[in-house]
Symmetry: C2
Subunit: 169 residues, 2 copies
C-alpha cells in the first residue's frame, strides 16, 4: 500500500493519529453522495458512478441501489468496492479539500429482512426524495464494510487508515 518514496521527495504518508481518524469519520458521517468504483463484471475494468449513501446507526455505511444499474450487477459479481467521500465545497482549490477513498466489501440486504425495514426508515430521514423510488421492486440496500482507506486532507496531508481506524457504529 505504501508508495515508493522518490529520492528527492519524502514518503508522503503521515502516521495515523486521532485527528486523522476523526476527519475520516466526519467525511463518512457527512456523506450523502459518493463516487462508487467497482469492477465491470464483463471485463474487470474499473467503473465509477455516483450513488446516494448514508451512515445508518447500527448498520453502517449504506446505499440504495437499482438492479438495473451496472454498479449493482458488478457488486453482485465481485463485492470489492471503493467509495470516494467528501464533496468539494465549490470554493477554493478542490484538491486542497479533504476526501476519503474508502475500500470496502459490499453486502446486499435481502428484501423483507428485518434489517431492510430498519434501513428503509433511516434512509428516508437521510434522503427525503428517496420516497419516489424506495418502493420500486428492483431497489435494494447494500452495506459497505470498510477494509482500508486513504485519507487525503489536502496537499501533502495523506494518511493510510486501517479498518480498525474506522469505527462506524
Amino acid at each position: 500500500m505504501e508508495p515508493s518514496p522518490m529520492p528527492d521527495r519524502p514518503n508522503p504518508i503521515r502516521e495515523t493519529d486521532d485527528e486523522a481518524r476523526a476527519l475520516a469519520l466526519r467525511l463518512i458521517e457527512g456523506a450523502r453522495i459518493a463516487a462508487l468504483a467497482v469492477a465491470d463484471p464483463a471485463t474487470g475494468a474499473p467503473y465509477v458512478s455516483r450513488i446516494a449513501v448514508g451512515l445508518v446507526g447500527g448498520a453502517g455505511l449504506a446505499a440504495l441501489v437499482s438492479a438495473l444499474s451496472l454498479h449493482t450487477r458488478a457488486l453482485r459479481a465481485d463485492p470489492r468496492a471503493c467509495l470516494l467521500l467528501g464533496e468539494p465545497s465549490g470554493k477554493g482549490d478542490p484538491l486542497a479539500q479533504p476526501r476519503l477513498s474508502l475500500s470496502a466489501t459490499a453486502r446486499f440486504v435481502p428484501p423483507g429482512d428485518p434489517e431492510d425495514a430498519r434501513l428503509r426508515a433511516a434512509w428516508t430521514a437521510l434522503h427525503p426524495k428517496s420516497r419516489l423510488y424506495l418502493g420500486l421492486p428492483d431497489f435494494a440496500f447494500v452495506l459497505f464494510t470498510p477494509v482500508s482507506a486513504a485519507l487525503n486532507g489536502g496537499f501533502a496531508r495523506a494518511f493510510a487508515l486501517a479498518a480498525s481506524d474506522l469505527k462506524l457504529s
Copy 2:
C-alpha cells in the same frame, strides 16, 4: 453493457441522440476535477480518488499526476480507467444532475516530449494553482482516450455512448 430489463420496468437506456452527445461533451469540457477509478495493482480491486483534469485542445482529456500516488502506479500497471465527470452544483438533488462515467485508456506523456511542453502551457491556464507542483520531478501528464461512456442526465435519463459519440478535439 446493457442492463437486463426487469419484467416490470422498461430498459432504462435511451437511444443516443445529438442532445446526449452534446451534454456529454459539455461535461467533459467543463470538468476541472474527476473521480478516477483504477484497478489497484496489488489486488486488482477497484480504487477511486480525486484528481484534477482538463480538456486540452489537440491533445484530449488530460491529468497531471504524481508518481507517489496509487492511481499513477495503478495506471502504469493497467491503463484501464474510468472517470466520473460532472460535479453536483450543491443545490437540489445531486442524483438529478448530469454526470458522465467515462471509460478510457490512459497513456503517459514522457517528460521532455514536445507534447509535454504543450500540455504544461495549457494546464497552467486551466489550473493556475498547478504552478506550485508542475515543476516537481515526480509529476507527469496522462492522456485519456475514451472507450465508452455512461451518461446519466438525471433519474431515468441514461445513455450508453460509444467512443465515436465523444469527439474531443
